[in-house]
Amino acid sequence: MIAQLRVIIQRLGALLVILLVIAGCKGETDKQAVVEKDPSQPAFLQIGSFSVQHVSPSRTHVRDGAGRTLVLIERGTEPPKNVPATQIIRVPVQSVAAYGYFEVCVLRALGVLENTLVGVTTPANRWFIPEIKQGMKNGKIAFLGDSSKIDFERLEHQHPELVLTWDPAIIPMLDQLGIPCVVTTTPEAMCLNARMRFVQFLAPFFHKEQEADAFFARIRSALDDIRARTVTSTSKPKVMWGDVYEKRVLVEPGNAWVGELVGLAQSDYQFDDIFGTSCIEITLERFLYSGKDADILFTYRTIDSGATSKEALARMNPLIKDIAPLHTGRVYSPKPHYVQSGDRLDEILTEIAAILHPDVYPDFPLQFFNELPDTDPVLAQKENKDDDK
């Protein structure tokens, strides 16, 4: 009886193997029959936590920062029945509301900003982008209210076909209004590759794939140039990117694009071992420890928020007054228009490389960052006058 049982089990095993092989072959054939891929586009593109999958010439699936799958369909085609209406987006999208500067810059890089943007969450006086200033002036682009308290009636009035946001909390409200949205941030900071390729994520929404590819090629060329130039540099500076606030210490982690760029440009990023979200919170001790032998500090603060000199930074945060960049090193603060210049990413990357390696970029004119002087110019003049007296 046992022998019979054994034979039965053996035969069942063999049958299972044959069935698995048949099932595998059948599955492959079915897939090929269903999916008609556009040969001009890659079938699947992963951009950090985002992805684009061209399912057929008239249908694309994208995965946004919140992990939701949105279905892009051509205008005039039948929408899929098993997908909620707010997750179906008809392309090319003709009107967009954007929450952040980053999204606006991507729209600008794609060349669709002027024609599609209808709403922003920053008032007119804080914009540096001429198209937006003009659009807000003539009423085409509306200020929708601060991002934490959007005026949904105003938003609805603008009739956006799509909202680009970093805040998933508005999804339930937008679902009620029937407006699809794309979450553009992720729990992890964007790596350099994702930062460069993000235009390729938004491109299918506007049929601007070629523009996105051209943008990516431009950035890649800039990176190649940075790599080639900095490899000859003899220095290897240690870099920090972050700041200390009243109760919190925030830095860019090693997986963020700035951390990767610093490494690529033959420099050491002091927070390379930290992994997580952009502007990640760390302990003060860790910040001070990294600051002991750092050469360069990039602060988040602009001149408007008090970063006028090293002395001013030390005055605002007495705890960091002893870190090396404030004494022997250099400190850089972003200029106010830096955050609105994402469409000039190649120039930003080159400027950061030039800051890290002035020996290979002699006399490089800074457009996006200010090097902080030791003391405030006004205070220094006052002190000189006092000395003269």
Partner: protein
């Protein structure tokens, strides 16, 4: 002539097939194969560690979209980083076959000689095999999870909003958020940070209504679905106060019952094995 030769070959093949099968069976259940497989699995996992490091975004979608879709998208297009995973699947498949054959062989042998042992002793001798079958059950459960689960990866809810489960299976309403925050002085940088998020949900069907509190590692079950807290805001009590929201991960997972059954079977086998060690082996030593 050719036809005659072919017929002879076929006859030989038919005659030899039971022995071929038997040889294959023996090879599949060999302990040497197990050791080689375990070494290869260790090596592959080591490679996997370096591929996973800082690439979680490549593997995370597997839990949402299922194994087959993941293979067709992320897996197939990033072979340099995902190749180790395919090797892992193949190795695990062979290990499962190996474990099944080996265990079945031994189990049958024990059952064949069942008259030599008392019932209790027979049960104890089956304990390791019980654990092996449990392992197979657990792995099958995980495979089922990745193949057949219905997953809603992220459903964002703000207080008062609701979500209707697929096929109108029920409604989830977000009632309140009562997080436990750190208010000590020793770890001053954690002051005001949320330590344990607690979201209260009202789960209703046309006939029933209940409330459930979910948190990290504390899912709720509702009408065949499990509701997991994936993310939440605000994470701190402070000036940069964000609007209260929770991100739910909703899934209907047919594999859960399988791997729970596997875990129970494994525990049972472990207890039996422990008893055998304590009683029979100690007794035989004396």
């Amino acid at each position: 002539m050719t036809t005659a030769t072919n017929t002879t070959t076929l006859e030989n093949a038919v005659k030899s097939s039971p022995s071929t099968l038997s040889t294959l069976w023996k090879m599949a259940g060999s302990i040497n194969l197990s050791i080689i497989l375990l070494l290869l699995l260790t090596l592959d996992s080591l490679v996997g560690y370096f591929c996973l490091d800082r690439n979680p975004s490549l593997f995370r979608p597997m839990g949402d979209m299922g194994l087959m879709t993941w293979i067709d998208t992320y897996g197939r297009h990033n072979l340099a980083v995902t190749g180790w995973f395919f090797v892992l699947l193949a190795l695990l498949f062979v290990l499962c076959c190996n474990t099944f054959v080996c265990t079945t062989d031994r189990t049958l042998r024990i059952l064949r000689n069942r008259k030599q042992h008392s019932t209790a002793r027979l049960l104890f001798r089956l304990a390791p095999h019980c654990m092996h079958y449990a392992l197979l059950l657990i792995l099958t459960g995980y495979l089922c999870s990745y193949l057949f689960s219905i997953v809603i990866p992220t459903q964002t809810l703000v207080i008062g909003s609701e979500y209707i489960l697929p096929n109108q299976a029920g409604t989830i309403r977000f009632i309140s958020f009562d997080p436990v925050t750190y208010n000590g002085e020793r770890l001053y940088w954690l002051d005001g940070n949320v330590l344990s998020p607690k979201a209260t949900l009202r789960l209703s069907t046309p006939h029933t209504e209940q409330e459930a509190v979910i948190g990290f590692n504390r899912p709720a079950r509702f009408n065949g679905y499990s509701l997991h807290l994936k993310n939440f805001e605000p994470k701190t009590q402070g000036k940069m106060h964000r609007k209260t929201r929770i991100d739910l991960h909703v899934r209907k997972d047919p594999g859960v019952m399988l791997y729970l059954a596997g875990l129970i079977l494994f525990s049972f086998g472990m207890v039996l094995y422990g008893c055998e060690w304590i009683f029979f082996r100690e007794v035989s030593k004396k």
